[in-house]
Every structure is written in C-alpha cells, then in structure tokens.
C-alpha cells in the first residue's frame, strides 16, 4: 500500500469526523438560539398585557361651587381640593341603586386610586374645564384591569374569584355602555414606581440606569484608556509592571458584591456621598468595569500593526504623537467594543447596588445624579416581589425594557465599530 492509497483509505473517516464536528457545532448554536428564543418569547407573551391599559370613561361634573375653586384659583388651592369626591359623585350618579356601605366601597374601587390625581392634573393643565361637565378617561383599578384582560376568569366560582359578583355586574354594565376602553399604556413609560400596579411606570428606573451608566462611563473610560495606553506603549517591561498586570486581571474576577461593600465603606461612610444616588452607584460600577475595559483596550492597542508605529516614528513623530495620532484612532473600534461590553455588564448588575441603598421604593423621577434612584434590574426584582398580581406582567415588561436597553447599547457598539474600522 503506497502513501496515496493510505491517504485515500483514511479520507472517508476524516471527512466523517469533520461532518460530525460540523453538525455538533451547528446543534450547539441551534440549542443556544432555541433557549434564547424560548426565553424572549416567554417574557414577551407575559409582558404584552402590560402595554395595554384598561380605562373607564366617566362623565364628571366639575362644579366650581362644589369644589370650592374657580378658574382664577392658584396651583396650591387646586392641589388642596379633594377630587375624589367628584369621581365618586359621577359613579354614584351612574349607579344610583348602590346604597350599602360595602357595595359603595366596591363601586368606588372601580377606578384607580390615582384617578383623583389624574383629574387634578387635568384641571391644573387647563382650568377652563372648571364649571363644565367633562368626559374623562380614568385609569381602571388593577382588579378591573385583570378581569378585562382575562387574568381573572369571570366564569370561576365566586368564592375563589377576586372580583365578586356584585362588582362584576358593575363592570359588565360599564362594558355594555362602552365606557371601558383598552388603550396603549403610555403611563408605563412616563411615570415612576408605584405600589398600585396600574399606576407603576418604568421611567424612574430607566433614567436611574441612564444616570448611573453615564457616571460609570465618565469615570471609567478616560482612566481605563489612559491605563491601557500607558501599559501597552510606555510602561517599561519590569517586575513592577507585571505585578500591576496580574492585579488588573485579578480585579476583573472579584465578585461584584465586594465592590458594593467598598462603595458603602468609602464613598458613603467616608466621603459622605448621598445613599441611593446614581453618583455612588456609578462610581461603584466603574470600579467593577474598569478592569474589563482596560483588558479589552490593551488587546485592541496590541492588535494595531507595529508597522504603523514604525512609520510614524520614522517620519519624525514623537512617541506621544505616534500614539495619539495613529495608534489610538486605529485601536478605537476595539476599545469602544470593550467599553460597551463593560457597560452592558454594569447595566445588569444589582448586587453592589444593594449595599449602597439603591434597592428602594422611589416614586419621584430622578432629576440629577445625586437624587435617589433605582435601576432597571432592581425594578424587576422589586416588582417580582410585590404581592399584587398586576405586577406579574409589569415585571416581564420591565425585563423587555431592560433587554431593549441592552440591544440599543450593543447596536451602538456595532455601528461605531463599523464606522471606525480599518482593514489592514
């Protein structure tokens, strides 16, 4: 048997091996993709109801005398008014047969507790509606919402149903009159957290995440890039630098909760920065992302061909000019990719923020990096832990928003990389 025959004999086996390897690779990718698909579709299906809001249309009589204000009243006077009375009067007018105390309670709980503030804001916006009768669309209570969306099954036995027969009849009357509407839930994107599922929104957490990441970016990017450039281009090769390198790699592997403890001890207890504020959250997360970005930036700088440096130096550029005019721009796409990966990691982090008080109930939307705020993953956690059933769909919706945030960041990274990328 000569060599050619031998090779030909083994050829079949080798092709088979390759085929098996290729199909195994394909299966692994397919399985990973399948899991992702299951995850995303499960969350999306659960989240979809959260983007629809059930509303109740009522005819409210904004009688100036009853309310005790006029069109000329100032903001403070209007804020003092109990608008709940007007809404209750409207409900009572529509259902005059409701007399008993307990039944009245059922009737009044058809609309959300936020309805009175909704009406107040409407009046503050446009005082001319005072003294007239207006058709106003109020947010429905979470139980009504659940019933309309079918989360609560109306055919269940009364004993085991959250919405009892009496209330169900009221809702069905409203439904028949066409007073129940289902609209897109803008509230979810425009308001902060709430303990009422129908009023809760994601804006506070989105802005909290944004502020925190902004602080993180501003803190890490300059430091990490400077460190990477120094270590790659300027640092002498000695024991000391090796030691620093090893420690940067070690830092990347430190569990994130440790950074939270550090943040608590140093930034809050020693520097007395405010608790629960994005500024502290951002600094803590920047400690965590710093090594990631340094490592990514270093490999990006290392990947720039030495011929570029040599040419610049050969034409008389100083070391500094070589680095900042030629090496850094060439390495930028890689550095940006590393930065975004670091940021994405920071976006999903909760453990270190637990220690510095960002796991908190915060209604007001943060206006600056020093206001108390929470971030998206923490909002998911807080909602998942709430007893009200309506928060189930909100939790999934918040996860979707978090994923959308992440995809946007990655898209920016890809765009920037494509824009600055050079082929050698």
């Amino acid at each position: 048997m000569n060599i050619t025959q031998k090779v030909q004999k083994s050829l079949k086996k080798r092709y088979l091996k390759e085929k098996i390897f290729k199909s195994m690779g394909f299966i692994s990718v397919a399985v990973a993709f399948l899991f992702l698909l299951i995850l995303i579709s499960d969350i999306t299906i659960k989240a979809l109801p959260a983007f629809v809001q059930t509303q109740i249309v009522l005819q409210v009589d904004l009688n100036e005398q009853d309310l005790g204000i006029t069109q000329q009243s100032n903001v403070d006077e209007i804020r003092q008014v109990d608008f709940r009375r007007v809404i209750r009067a409207a409900l009572k007018k529509q259902f005059p047969q409701v007399k008993k105390r307990k039944q009245k309670k059922d009737l009044y709980s058809l609309v959300s507790v936020g309805a009175e503030y909704q009406l107040r804001d409407l009046v503050l916006e446009n005082r001319e509606i005072l003294g007239t009768t207006q058709k106003v669309t109020f947010i429905a209570d979470d139980d009504v919402d659940a019933l309309i969306k079918g989360v609560i099954d109306r055919n269940d036995e009364e004993s085991g149903r959250r919405v009892k027969d009496f209330k169900l009849k009221l809702i069905e009357t409203l439904e028949k009159n066409g007073q129940i509407e289902k609209n897109f839930n803008w509230q979810f994107f425009s308001s902060g957290d709430s303990r009422e599922p129908e009023l809760a929104g994601i804006k506070g957490a989105v802005l909290g995440s944004l502020y925190t990441l902004l602080v993180t970016l501003l803190m890490t990017f300059p430091v990490a890039v400077a460190a990477a450039i120094y270590l790659e281009e300027f640092a002498p090769k000695n024991r000391m630098v090796d030691f620093i390198e090893i420690n940067i790699n070690n830092l990347a592997a430190v569990p994130s909760i440790v950074f939270g403890l550090l943040g608590l001890a140093v930034f809050i207890n020693f520097f007395e920065l405010p608790r629960s504020a994005p500024i502290v959250g951002g600094i803590v997360l920047s400690l965590m992302t710093l090594p990631t970005i340094i490592i990514a930036s270093r490999s990006a700088i290392k990947a720039v061909p030495p011929s570029l440096r040599e040419a610049a130096l050969g034409l008389g550029a100083s070391k500094m000019q070589t680095v900042f005019h030629h090496v850094f721009p060439a390495a930028l796409p890689g550095i940006l990719t590393g930065t975004i990966i670091g940021m994405a990691q920071a976006l999903g982090e909760t453990a270190p923020l637990l220690m510095i008080g960002m796991v908190a109930f915060i209604v007001d939307i943060p206006q600056s990096v020093t206001d108390p705020a929470t971030v998206l993953p923490i909002q998911v956690y807080l909602w998942a832990d709430s007893p009200e059933r309506g928060f189930l769909e909100k939790t999934s919706a918040a996860i979707l928003v978090l994923i959308a945030f992440l995809i946007t960041m990655n898209a920016i990274a890809i765009y920037l990389r494509k824009k600055f990328e050079k082929k050698w």
């Binding site: 403070d76 804020r79 309670k105 709980s109 507790v113 936020g114 503030y117 609560i152 269940d156 085991g160 149903r161 959250r162 709430s194 303990r195 009422e196 902004l214 602080v215 501003l218 803190m219 990017f221 300059p222 007395e272 920065l273 405010p274 608790r275 629960s276 504020a277 500024i279 900042f324 008080g357 796991v359 908190a360 109930f361 915060i362 209604v363 007001d364 600056s368 990096v369 020093t370 108390p372 998942a384 832990d385 709430s386 007893p387 009200e388 059933r389 189930l392």
Partner: protein, 345 residues
Amino acid sequence: MKNFKTLLTLSALVTSLSSLAAGRDYISIVGSSTVYPFATVVAERFGKSTNFKTPKIESTGTGGGMKLFCKGINVDTADITNASRRIKASEFAMCQKNGVKDIVEVLIGYDGIVVANAIKSHTFALTRKDLFLALAKEVPTGKDGELIANPNKKWSDVRKELPNVKIEVLGPPPTSGTRDAFVELAMEGGCKKFDWIKATKKSNKAKYKSICHTVREDGAYVEAGENDNLIIQKLQKNPDALGIFGFSFLDQNADVVKGATIDGGAPEFDTIADGYYPVSRPLFFYVKKAHVGKIPGMSEFLKEFTSEKAMGEEGYLTDKGLIPLDAGKFKTVQDAVINLKPLSL
C-alpha cells in the same frame, strides 16, 4: 483628543455636583421587608397629595434597618425604620450610644403568617403542635426528656385526622423575618405544649430554643427563597405541598390558594385582628425625634400614616392586607404620635 478633554471636564463637573448634595429634602425610611408594602403605599399617597417629595423607602430587613437608623443623629442617617418586631434592648442601647436619644415607637397593626395550599387540594385544620411535630428537627418521644430525629413522613403520622400526604412545606429561608416569626409563634407555640420542654425554658433556655426553633433539614421543609409569589406558583403546580407566607399574599391570591386553620382559627381579617388566629405579629415603625422639623414633611408624613384614612379600620392599608388595630390602641398610637412621646425600655 478634543473628545477626550470634554469627557474629562464632564467628569469633573459630575464630581463637583456631588458636593452639593448635603441637605436632604425627602424623608429616608429603611427597615423591614414586611412593613415595606404598607409604608410604600403611605409614602406614595403622601408624595402625590402634598407638595413634599415622596419619601424614599429601602427594604433592608428589620435588623439592617436598626443598624442604619441607630448610626447617628446627623441628617445623612435614616429618619424612620420599619420593624416587624419590637426594638431589642441591645438595639435601643446602640441607638443611645450613638446619640439617637429620643425614638418614637409607632405600632401600625398586625400581620398574619399563613400556612396555605392549592385551592383544589386537601383542606388542612392544623394546630401549632402539629406544625411543631411536622417541622421540627427533633421531636419528643412519649418519655419525658427524650428526643428523636423527626420520624414523621406524612401528615397522618403527625395526627391521624390529617390527610395522608407527604409532608412538604415551602417556606422562607432563615434570613427572613417571616421565618423568625413563624418559628417563634407557630413552632414554639406548639413546642410549649409539651410540659417537660416548657420546664426547660427556665432551667436551660438555650436548649429550649434549640428544641423549639430548629427546623428539620431532611427535605420536608423546603427553603423556597424570599419571593412569596414564587411559593404561590409552586403550590399551584404541587397540590400536596404547603407554603408559608404573609397574609397579604393570601389575600391577593385567594383564588388559587387557601389558608389552613390553626388551632381552630381561620386566617381571615377579623380573626387575626382579635387574636383568635394565633400566628400573627405586631408591626412597628420607629421615628428619630431629632429629625422631626429638620427634614421637611416629617410631621405631616406621621400624621398621614396614623390617620383614620390609612391605618383605620376601613383605611387603605387594610386593602393591602394590614390587620388594623382596635379602636383603643389606635387612639393611644395617634396620641403618642401627636405628642412624639419618646420610647423608654
């Protein structure tokens, strides 16, 4: 290069901003995760109906809250801490040591801890003794002073009248206040029914505690994490299992789970309020008197929390599952808040 400079200036700006944040214009509340769902409702309404900012509420657990609360008197520290048990003497001493002299105690109501299972499954009528015998690590034999590793595998082993199903109870982990309260109120309550164990309380308190408070670890008690919603979901999937959680979760999920009666008391609003249902605990919050008047909105917030509209019998907190105080106690609490009567232990 230019971008680099702007970035540096921006980061300098951010750091300078932080030094401005000394004064605080919102109330800071920390403490128990059991009180959290009630305190947050009050805070939200307070923020919406007044010109004050909405208070910030952290859920740190009772012990963690006390630490933050007692850290000191300056404005950076928390103004109010929530607690699912009364302040301990050691915590009170820590407060005193750090200059937090005047603390106002406010009892807000009660919380029931329920043992529940899927609505279509067996109906359980338990006693505290049953719970102890089913869940303790070691149970007494017939002879005084003798303990054996818990041999009970089925509920019917505990007591003949109970259903013939495997003991499987999903409950919170030891870090949870609900678990502490369950162990203290239900298991210890049942444990005390054995006379010789009750007698050891006087002679050897540590032994007494270890007998009554140690939960079995052979798989019959499953630590299901702090998330009560998860326990409820698991109960629906597993009709033989029982779950332990707060009353508000039973109240919200009455269509899928039902509570077991304990010592004849069903877990309902009225039975918990009048103490007929035995596994309930008081809920408190503690106020730093020195901060009233210093932090805007403190006295108004206290007034809102202790108003009839919130804590009263028909108040909005009862809609969230808080068991209200009776009229007499309610009046005492309101008076204490108006006068800011400091606590002395």
